[in-house]
């Protein structure tokens, strides 16, 4: 098992190296550089300013040289400064990664807490009224666009009822957990509602598949209680493919949170990475995307380990 984890970590490093080349190359191939963008914001910049600034920011160097310089510094732990935020990249990203993980973690936990029991319940009573209602709820959640739902929640809870803040991460000058929690409620609700439908449907179909298996019929024939059959045997088997979906969802949530973050003015990774790419902030975009990649790769590693826990027949060498 330890050898397996070590091998996967080495593979992760290789993937990150390849990703860094791809990301740097793709950003570099985009038209315009930061100084071109600066020029459109300030028509008073002269030609001399443009030439000087390109030299100051190293943009007069070939892309390969710039990448190698970045990589050399990154290997020594220097990830550079964010051009857009004028701060060391890690200083910018650390709190935002924390915010996103908090937002995603809570949303995912709530979504799973709803999706698993509801999916099992629906699968155990296929085509019943309960199943139909649960399906309706799932399809509604999957169909609602996040930006529309977010605005709706803001109008209801912040504008009409006035009980929750419309956006931000904390009140000015207030540093309390309760205050921060209020700012999380609406973005978490939005992300949860748009996520839960897909997961619920997946749990339901995986359970329906498992419930048709012979070993469950045998268990029932042996007199095992229906509850134990459902949760002890069927759910455990249905969880194996579901864990894969959740691990992949982790990546989707990471990038999909961008809309939610923008709408609620929530400082997270999705929005930061998007702005960094659009603003040609190489350092920030590189490290942000690599962190996102690492998170997804680690989530998949955890999923692989979970398979072994869920199914003792699976072993890693």
């Amino acid at each position: 098992m330890i050898r397996f984890i070590a091998r996967r970590l080495v593979e992760t490093l290789l993937v990150l190296l390849v990703m860094s080349v791809c990301i740097y190359g793709l950003i570099g191939l985009m038209p315009g550089d930061p100084i071109d963008l600066m020029l459109t914001a300030d028509p008073h910049l002269t030609t001399a300013d443009v030439v000087r600034l390109k030299a100051v920011y190293g943009l007069d160097q070939p892309l390969v040289d710039r990448y190698l310089a970045w990589l050399g510094a990154a290997v020594h732990g220097d990830f550079g400064y964010s051009r857009l935020q004028s701060q060391p990249v890690l200083q910018v990203l650390a709190p935002r990664l924390g915010n996103t993980l908090l937002l995603m973690g809570i949303s995912l936990a709530i979504a799973l807490a709803i999706a698993i029991p509801a999916g099992v319940w629906a699968a155990s009573r296929p085509r019943s009224l309960a199943d139909n209602l649960i399906n309706l709820f799932a399809f509604a959640g999957m169909s609602i666009p996040a930006f529309w739902l977010g605005i709706l929640l803001i109008i209801l809870f912040a504008v009409t009822l006035g009980v929750l803040p419309a956006s931000g991460t904390a009140s000015p000058g207030v540093n309390s957990l309760a205050d921060r929690a209020t700012y999380l409620i609406l973005p978490v609700a939005t992300l949860t509602i748009v996520t839960v439908g897909g997961e619920l449907r997946y749990v339901r179909s995986a359970m329906l598949e498992v419930l048709r298996q012979d070993f469950l019929r045998t268990a029932r024939a042996k007199g095992v209680s229906p509850r134990r059959v459902l949760f002890g045997h069927a759910l455990r088997n249905a969880m194996i493919p579901f864990v894969t979906v959740v691990a992949l969802d982790f990546g989707t949530l990471f990038s999909g949170a961008q809309i939610t973050e923008t709408l609620f003015g929530y400082l997270g990774m999705g929005k930061t990475i998007y702005d960094a790419i659009m603003g040609n902030d190489y350092n920030l975009a590189m490290v942000g995307l690599l962190l996102a990649t690492t998170t997804v790769l680690l989530a998949n590693l955890v999923a692989d380990l979970a398979y072994a826990w869920l199914d003792p027949r699976i072993t890693y060498r």
Partner: protein, 574 residues
Amino acid sequence: MIGRLAGALALGLFLLGILGPSSAANARDQLIIGATQFPSNLHPNIDSMLAKSYVLGLTQRPFTTYDATWQLVCLLCTELPTFENGKAKIEDLPPGFKRDRGTTFCKTADPALATKGIAATYTIQPNATWGDGTPVTTDDVMFTYEVGKNEKSGVSNSELYRRIVRIDVIDKKTFTMHFDRVEFGYNGINDFELVPAHLERAPFGDPTTYRNRTLYSTDPTNPGLWFGPYKVTSMEPGSQIVLDANPTWWGTPPQIKRIVFKTIENSAALEANLLSGSVDYIAGELGLDMDQALGFEQRHKDAYDITYKPVIYYEHLTPNLDNPIFADKRVRQALLYALDRTALTQQLFAGHQPVADSDVSPLDWIHTDDVAKYAHDPAKAAALLDEAGWKLGADGLRHDAGGKPLGFELNTTAGERTRELVEQVLQSQWKAVGVAVRIRNEPARVLFGETINQRKFTGLALFAWLSSPENVPFTTLHSTMVPTAENGWAGQNYAGYRNGAMDDLIDCIEVELDRGKREQMWHKLQALYAEDLPDLPLYFRAQAFIFPKWLKGITPTGHQYQSTLWAEQWRIEP
């Protein structure tokens, strides 16, 4: 079961009540400003963006600026240096001195002026003090100059620093700047924004890393960085900046004790924040776009005071004059005659965005109405196109003698709703006179990063210019400013406009010190522009300021020197 549900609901509502937003209790000695942009940093000279100059208007003062009447005024200085008050003098340039922009010079001006400069003497406000109690002195002036002229410091706009030949310190509060040219704007040093020598000298030890080590980025709440009516007391990058009244401010004490600058990039969410009370005021400079503001006004006009201010953003169509279609002036004029720009601004912007006749704003003192106008006249458009050899065919399109149809591409920024609406109006009105337009929009970074600045557009490009009061259009209209591969795509004359008469006017306006004579030259320039149409003028944008009823004293300026420069006049009324 029902009882349990009711209990859970009651508990939920109770918790919501406890955890409700603290902004609901927002006392009326603070103002929360909502904006759609956050400054990249707060250094006054590194990077330029609207959000930064908006915030810096609260925390410091430039020596000079344009006020709401578009006149140059002193803020940090005590008196504008002029020839009349003896604080400005024409002087010889040092022998062998080479001007930064010495390629062209007014042919009709005294040739001796080409080797002259101007010395202008400024005195710093006597009580001006940094937030830590250190007086603002000429040490700061000299240090700022040192940073500005250092090529490695990362200062974005260094043109002013290149124009300064040297600075002589007279005493702790008085200095003389020697400029490398004689020009009418000699006493305006709006871009000379002070940085504190006593704090910034250490990070400037290595100029190549200064832009990362400056205290404006590493310690923005250091009171010694600020000398305006407010100082930064808290900053959450990307989200909000809290500014409290600065006790060392030398001017009228501000009535509002705390200002929070809060960024919500999504404008629909920004509107919802205003309605929920999380934001008090949406600044026009960084707020809702026009159609959103008009919609907001319809729904909530009784609850807010809404002011529309035309601004210096000049929305226009730039033709690529290398395209033979646009090389013919008659076609350019016909295209403008075919448009009903008055109806366009009336229908789309409720008439708040004035139709443009040239690139000079009607709010600028140099503006004239005595120029060619292009009122909607499809018959005249058709006649001009006929005259230019584009005849109407059976297919409803115009063709040249060789049968080639009259058509071109129209580019603008993809996703910008207002421009996309305008494009559709233009397309249909040109179609009515037999001109086929293909709309091809691109993301802003592609459009401005390559298509426009490398002149890759083949038809018309729809975008806006931001300039300043009495701005000489050297970079946009002078024939030496056409971007080419040979000059490294330098210059912003994207149309490729080359007219000797326009070059002469630009060169001569710059060196004309007599305001009356200069006004005449400006009128000629606008007349030539309207006749020649190097760009097709559409309208000047307007900004919507959405004030709560209790907020008074904010005067939009209409130019890039923003309303926050007079924040001490803002007041809260019951």
